[in-house]
Symmetry: C2
């Protein structure tokens, strides 16, 4: 039975709720602030380069703003000097490649559009007072339509999208504003020089203070993705063959690392597009084969799809009985482990830009184990068992064999890339355990020094 409340009681209730809400407000604000602080800390810890980048942007903008205060420079450009500040804000990106790409796009587009705009203005001004706006409007319309359509071409979109936008912008700016005063050429010149100053300031700060080379990021990311598959396969054997005994869902997170590989395509493509703008630096020479990274990335993803299929068998409802699984356990584990070693070694050598053929040895080993597995499957060890129960284990075995093929393809692509990018030659086997620690050291060095250490020549001579 519901209690009947009088209007006074109701209003009293709503007031008390309001009071409670007001009392809770400071706590809520405090919690929210703490949460934001925690997130900020995490963002900074995850990638300290973010903090450095923010400081760099602040520095570049402040420098160019101060330049605005110097009387002699300001008198030269007048109000156009503001374009320099604007350019820094618009062009300064996280990586050198992106900044350079945007800067070059902006400069080139401004130069061409300023010239064309001035030409259009001169042409229009001949046609007299009445014809001028009509002619200018026609030019603007045609240029805007053509340029906007050009932005749909995939190649143009990937590399020159920003330039196309700046082209329309500057063309309008010069040809339309030219109608107001006759100093069109002067304006075009001012706009170009201030943009040049802004771009140069951005590039100098971006390259000279802790530069972020997106090409290096792409290189590390492709290597890391190969390594992630290796990590999964390393753990898979143990996990699968003890799954019925202790099926603890909690500490399986290390098995999920490969999932980011499945959706890495677009980020890799973006990185490769930016990387192509970067000049040669450290071990990455001029015309480094960035496109081949995409091929290695695609093959890694194909392998990741198979790993995804393998992963479903870890949580499969119908499981092969442990005794039957035990029969194929040894060769399966060996295939998985050798594949894992091949991948991890490939990743480690690739990361360090070494042409390491020892992965091929592990692939050979895994093939041998796969042959054993095949002959085991052929024998009639299975006859007494139920086929439905055998299927999961049999599928795992067949997937592992397919993964060997995938790894072989990745290895080929990595070797081709290594030859094209003239990686160092080395025949030594790099133990994954050892290489991991070396790797970590290298990362630390990379993030501490402004430029990645160039490859010492003596090593090349010694190993060749």
């Amino acid at each position: 039975m519901e209690a009947v409340t009088s209007p006074q009681q109701e209003s009293y209730g709503s007031i008390s709720r309001g009071c409670q809400w007001l009392k809770a407000l400071p706590n809520k604000c405090c919690d929210k602030t703490m949460e934001i602080a925690r997130k900020t800390k995490k963002l900074g810890q995850d990638d300290p380069r973010r903090i450095v980048h923010s400081l760099k942007v602040g520095l570049a903008i402040t420098l160019v703003s101060l330049f605005y205060f110097f009387e002699p420079l300001y008198d030269g450009f007048g109000d156009s000097a503001m374009w320099a500040v604007l350019t820094v804000v618009l062009v300064f990106e996280f990586s050198v490649g992106a900044t350079l790409g945007k800067g070059l796009n902006r400069m080139l587009a401004t130069l061409v559009a300023a010239g064309l705009g001035a030409g259009a203005h001169c042409l229009a001004s001949i046609s007299g007072r009445k014809g001028e706006p009509i002619l200018v409007a026609t030019f603007v319309f045609i240029i805007a339509v053509i340029t906007t359509f050009m932005r749909f071409f995939p190649r143009v979109k990937a590399r020159y999208d920003y330039g196309m936008m700046i082209f329309i912008l500057t063309f309008c700016l010069v040809s339309v504003s030219g109608y107001r005063d006759d100093q069109v050429l002067e304006m075009a010149r001012d706009r170009f020089s201030t943009i040049l100053i802004g771009c140069c300031a951005s590039l100098i700060v971006c390259i000279c203070i802790f530069p972020v080379w997106i090409g290096e990021d792409l290189h590390k990311s492709v290597a890391a993705n190969i390594g992630k598959l290796g990590k999964f396969l390393e753990a898979f054997g143990d996990e699968y063959f003890k799954v019925s005994e202790e099926s603890n869902e909690n500490n399986k997170s290390y098995l999920q690392g490969y999932r980011t590989v499945l959706t890495s395509k677009s980020s890799e493509e973006t990185m490769a597009n930016f990387a192509r703008w970067e000049p040669g630096h450290g071990p990455f020479g001029y015309r480094h084969p960035w496109k081949m990274y995409l091929k290695v990335g695609n093959l890694t993803r194909d392998c990741a799809y198979k790993v995804e299929a393998l992963n479903t068998y870890l949580n499969c409802k119908i499981q092969t009985q442990a005794e039957i699984r035990g029969k194929i356990q040894e060769p399966c584990k060996r295939v998985s482990l050798e594949c894992s070693r091949a991948l991890k070694e490939m990743a480690s050598a690739f990361r360090k830009m070494i042409l390491n053929r020892s992965a091929a040895m592990h692939i050979e080993n895994s093939k041998k184990a796969a042959e054993e597995l095949k002959s085991l499957l052929k024998t009639s060890l299975w006859e007494e068992a139920d086929l439905l129960e055998i299927i999961p284990s049999a599928s795992v075995a067949s997937l592992l064999m397919e993964i060997i093929e995938c790894i072989e393809k990745i290895s080929e692509a990595v070797n081709k890339l290594g030859e094209a990018a003239s990686f160092r030659k080395s025949n030594a086997t790099v133990l994954p355990e050892l290489s991991d620690s070396i790797q970590q050291e290298t990362v630390q060095q990379d993030s501490n020094t402004a430029m990645p250490a160039p490859v010492p020549h003596c090593v090349i001579i010694m190993s060749e």
Copy 2:
């Protein structure tokens, strides 16, 4: 034996090569032009909205440029009027959602930054001639650093990245240029009003002339992806069970349609981000559950990974003998076909925003077929055969069973989305063959009319 060439002969050779190159030049240019023309035509044919968009951009820019020519308006804003043209170029995007998102970001960021910038300028001007540049520079540095770092927050990056950039830009513009003349507030006001004019012009043209709703694109793309998996499964049964007889690689392209689903994640996320800016339109109401589309998309991709695994068995080297395959052919084909029907019906109903439960019927049918398949696998029909040869077929059978589970999950998510977005109710079975033709008609209608036809109310009442 090599012929010895004299220097004269060599120079003659290089001249003749040069002549040949010059002669071939017009042809080459002609070929290149033809290729570009062909590509342009294809781009336009693939999506005619691209041509419309280009014309719309041209129109909007020309309109705002003409506005610049009107003396009374120009006298009100002076040179700031140019910001209106700039805004149109920068803000006008392909879809309404993107244009609205950029426009609102730009307006809001300009308003806040103009206010803050004017405040910073006033504060700095109190501190005298010498302190002013130092104070302004400090403000600019702090604002730039904080705002740049905020752009790394994933949520901010997804929705307010452009706004953050414009915030720094306007703040610098107002606070720094304020140093030069004391009309800071006037400048802030002018900048905001011209940007408002530019945004409004862009939005009016974008929404009123053949609008492209990105939400609708997302809706169609998610539906199409589900349909692509259905198409693969429809063809898979026939293809797999006749593979050894006539293995023609050429006409298998229709089996590859699902591959775009594998890498659709990032484009779906971008579309969902833009769609959230769009106002209610046609059947997509205010607060349409765009986030739930991402969930359906993720489940579709999970299913696509399984389909990818299935696809490898079409080109597998080791194939089960035709006789043995024949034993499971009938139920396998039935599972595949029923799955395909469920997916195609789901896609078709989803696209038309109908809550259609008939997919559940096909899922039930496929489950029944799967049970038959299981009991077939349990029987000892296989005992005489080699396990290694059985594995591919057995794996196919097991994958098909897993796909049923995936489809059930997709169906659940689609139904939840349908309820949240209040789709129409219908219990009628939509035949995929019929629905395809309806679908094509709907697309044509959609692209012909400016607005998608609103859902007729009588239908809702009748079907409920």
